[in-house]
């Protein structure tokens, strides 16, 4: 392997005693469960704190590619959020039951805190989804009523044999009247 290729690779980088304080040249994570990231096994790479730190780095690296935007229907997105929250809630409920059944208070306390958060998150996302569906339904009903009104106008123009050159000014005048009516209905002045 050439010097350039070695330089391109991630290295352990820990200060070494044997090499006079120079940085360790082992590949990052060599001999650990997180090869390619963090310290090698000779430099505390398998200690709990290094394992956690390496997991964070791996997750952040993955998110750079996994976090690409995906076009999503808002209602479908909310439903997926509710499903995820329900899954998390269920999983934590199981963990709490296991800890309670084995009388493991060291595990039970943090799990209860996470479970409480999961309950809140599920309730919050479910509420948002319900509100969004109500909004979507109200919007759809009103849209249909608006479209029906326009169909009546178009049909009336045809039945009354209004000349086509008058359709546009008539439609524009009607649009102004409709907007004025809406304004008055909402408490505005005529």
């Amino acid at each position: 392997m050439t010097a350039d290729r070695v330089a391109d690779r991630a290295l352990c980088g820990a200060r070494t005693r044997s090499a006079g304080g120079r940085a360790c040249r082992n590949p990052a994570g060599k001999g650990t469960s997180h090869v390619g990231t963090g310290r090698c096994r000779h430099h505390a790479g398998s200690t709990p704190s290094h394992l956690v730190a390496a997991e964070v780095v791996v997750a952040e690296r993955a998110l750079r590619t996994l976090g690409e935007p995906i076009p999503t229907d808002p209602l479908e997105g909310l439903q997926r959020a509710v499903d995820s929250a329900a899954g998390l809630h269920h999983g934590l409920q199981q963990l709490v039951r296991e800890a309670a059944a084995s009388d493991d208070s060291r595990a039970l306390v943090p799990r209860l805190a996470l479970y409480a958060d999961a309950i809140d998150r599920l309730a919050r996302t479910a509420r948002q989804a319900v509100e969004a569906r109500l909004t979507e339904r109200q919007a759809r009903i009103n849209q249909e009523q608006g479209e029906l009104l326009v169909r009546f106008v178009v049909a009336a123009l045809a039945v009354a044999a209004i000349p086509p050159e008058l359709h546009r000014p008539f439609r524009a005048a009607l649009a102004v009247e409709i907007d004025r009516h809406r304004h008055i209905e909402e408490g505005g002045t005529p």
């Binding site: 909004t135 979507e136 109200q138 919007a139 759809r140 849209q143 608006g146 439609r171 409709i178």
Partner: protein
């Protein structure tokens, strides 16, 4: 984060988020304190007016 305009927009494009945002910007629709569109009953008139006299044809 889904915007109020995106929630009202239709996936078939019959009402676009830009259209709803324009109604919000012009005060034809408004948001309540929760950040939701306050009253959707006026939407039928806005839809009808835009269909009868599309904004791009209506001029300034």
């Amino acid at each position: 984060m889904t915007t109020p305009a995106e929630l009202v927009a239709r996936s078939d494009g019959s009402i676009t988020a830009e259209q709803v945002q324009r109604w919000l910007d012009r005060g034809r629709l408004w948001l309540n304190e929760d950040g939701h569109i306050a009253d959707l009953s006026g939407l039928k008139f806005l839809v009808a007016a835009d269909l009868l006299d599309p904004p791009e044809e209506a001029g300034p």
